[in-house]
Amino acid sequence: MKIGTIITAAAILFTSLPALAGDSEHDPEALMKESHMAMFYAADDGISEVEMKIVNSKGKERVRQFAMLRLDVEEGGKQMYYTYFRKPHDVSRLTFMVHKLPQENDSRWLYIPSVDLIKRISSDDKGSSFVGSDFTYEDVSGRHWTEDTHTFVREDEYNGRGVYVIESKPVEKYKGFTRKITLIDRENHLVLREEYYKKGDSPERVFTAEKVETIDGIATSTFRRMENLKKNQYTTVEFSDIRYDVGIDESVFTERSLKNPPREYIR
């Protein structure tokens, strides 16, 4: 598995070399990496309040509120996430932690305060829904660019912004999508729209960045939407109170904090 990944990574590297040499601005591999960094590795760490609204086909709404801490141990590599749930009532005070290693299974922990239980969670399936929303675990923390092969399609315009259009296909068989079209903002490299196809010409899910703000000098999409066209439902995510480069220590992402939320960051 690991050797396979290295070989494919090497293959991708070599096949993309001519592109790098010839036309670096349109190198799809480099653009996907840039956008991944802009979306998921902004600054060295970050804190944010998150409100997620899940709206089903009948218009019924569910709300999840949580605080989220992120630390990039290695830019583009190892990351740590810490989530403190506020709402709804049955998950309030619950904490969730992820140690994410690209191309390996995440380590995940859940702490249930009412019974003082730390549970380690199996994480084989990154395509699982995140807290019942239309976002998967992978959508939340990002799919590593080396897991797909990328083709530059064209330059285009989207909502008044210049974008690069990239098409990606998974290297290994993947049930999340068979084909993905990404629209990357030419200036800040944020993903403005992403379409996930499985069969046929219409996407099953569509991600859109509905609002982009500049926070601490960093372009950030603060309102995101994932529409599931197959199920006719959608989820929106709104980020607020965003802070970057707070200087979160790695020791925050341990069992100790699962039980004792770091109050210097989470109120």
Partner: protein, 417 residues
């Protein structure tokens, strides 16, 4: 307790009203109705209901940079038999750190450790099996205790020490709500004549409980060593002179490992139960020492289905001496006790419908216990659950066989605030 519930309610109300003034305080909780019906007409308990209660839980938390305090108070109106209101302080503690390497949690609290799923070897903190068997929420399986907890940290190692000044036993079926097997009566009994409670250890300093856990991460593997000094949590000893059950002295030495493997989580745990009042194994009225072990594995089957499997084994030390001392004709407990368990959790409708199945089966005692629950979250605040607890046993004197007339189904409604 009843007399004070008005006062406590008043104090809670005062806390609620004054809360908005403090910046980092929060009030939350829920209101819950639970109605259970016993499906086995042979059950010798005084009511056909297994539960009929309304519960209001209020949670209050407040924190500053230095310390944090938390309270969880339940008011229960219970008319299982005679209507009555009771109040229970589920949790009430303060928590603070010292020197960056020490956390202290002092007060009434719920503590859990160990690796098993509903199997506890080194977790000798009190459990409420009556709540568990009658459909109350999972959080009620763990009973609170008044304790002082110290946790020390150094790198990837941590040491937990818990001191519980007054021994806190498990809550077990005692004949009032749930029937049980009574060896003195030689059968399954219930009702007022057979109310059962063990004699608690005397309130002496030396009868306090000490639990400790030393844990460490080795990469992604977490390992732990455990120690316990106290008493068996259920009254498994018998004082023939007084004709009373009691809690024999117990020491436990244990270890556990847990690791991600094959796309899931694998765990093993073991503990040596040193029965201090029967070290030779030749007293039939006090349990022999034993070696308790388990192994388990859990993984996602699909993106919405998770399942696990556990095997648990208890080996009785000095089984020969035990068997030799038994009176003729009495059932002989096996040298080995085997138990298999499995949990399957399925999520539907964007995780708003949850189906949970849990089965215990012992091939050595030929008994079983199954738990099933379907929970539907109608909105973020309102949920309802339909569940069942089913027992089976070839013999009345086995672990689950003794509860075989307690089969029940229940309905539960929760409104969260």
């Amino acid at each position: 307790m009843k007399r004070y519930s008005g006062l406590i309610a008043g104090m809670m109300l005062a806390a609620v009203l004054s809360a908005p003034a403090a910046a980092d305080s929060e009030i939350s909780g829920f209101l819950q109705g639970l109605y259970g019906y016993g499906t086995d007409s042979r059950n010798p308990v005084p009511s056909e209901l297994t539960a009929s209660e309304v519960r209001l839980q209020l949670r209050f938390e407040s924190f500053s940079d230095g310390a944090e305090y938390f309270g969880r108070l339940d008011f229960v109106y219970d008319n299982y038999l005679d209507p009555g209101i009771s109040a229970e302080l589920r949790e009430g503690y303060i928590k603070f750190g010292a020197g960056g390497w020490l956390d202290m949690k002092i007060g009434r609290q719920i503590i859990t450790w160990g690796t098993g799923d509903l199997i506890f070897i080194n977790d000798l903190f009190p459990k409420d099996w009556v709540s568990f068997f009658s459909g109350r929420d999972d959080q009620y399986l763990k009973a609170p205790q008044n304790a002082l907890r110290f946790t020390m940290y150094g790198g990837s190692t941590s040491l937990d020490v818990v001191y519980t000044p007054r021994f806190t036993s498990d809550v077990i079926p005692s004949g009032m709500r749930l029937s049980y097997y009574n060896p003195m009566a030689g059968g399954i009994v219930g009702g007022e004549d057979y109310l059962f409670a063990g004699t608690m250890p005397e309130a002496k300093i030396e009868n306090g409980e000490i639990s400790a856990k030393l844990s460490r991460y080795f990469g992604s593997i977490d390992g732990a060593l455990y120690f316990y000094r106290g008493f068996y949590k259920t009254p498994v000893g018998m004082d023939m002179a007084a004709r009373e059950a009691f809690y024999p002295e117990l020491m436990v030495y244990g270890a556990s490992l847990r690791s991600p493997v094959f796309g899931g989580i694998f765990w093993i745990e073991s503990g040596y139960y040193d029965s201090r009042e029967d070290s030779g194994g030749n007293d039939p009225l006090v349990p022999n020492s034993s070696l308790e072990s388990m192994a388990g594995f859990e993984r996602q089957i699909t993106s919405t289905v998770t399942a696990n499997l556990q095997y648990y084994n208890s080996y009785m030390i000095d089984h020969d001496s035990f068997a030799a001392t038994l009176p003729e004709g009495s059932p002989v407990t096996d040298e080995f006790y085997h138990l298999l368990t499995s949990r399957v959790t399925m999520l539907f409708m964007m995780e708003n419908l949850n189906v949970s199945l849990f089965a215990f089966y012992s091939p050595s005692e030929e008994d079983a216990y199954g738990r099933a629950a379907v929970t539907y979250k109608y909105t973020d605040t309102v949920s309802m659950a339909l569940g069942a607890n089913l027992f089976h046993g070839e013999y009345e004197y086995t672990t689950f066989g003794g509860f075989q007339h307690n089969d029940n189904v229940y309905l539960k409604f929760t409104y969260g605030i």
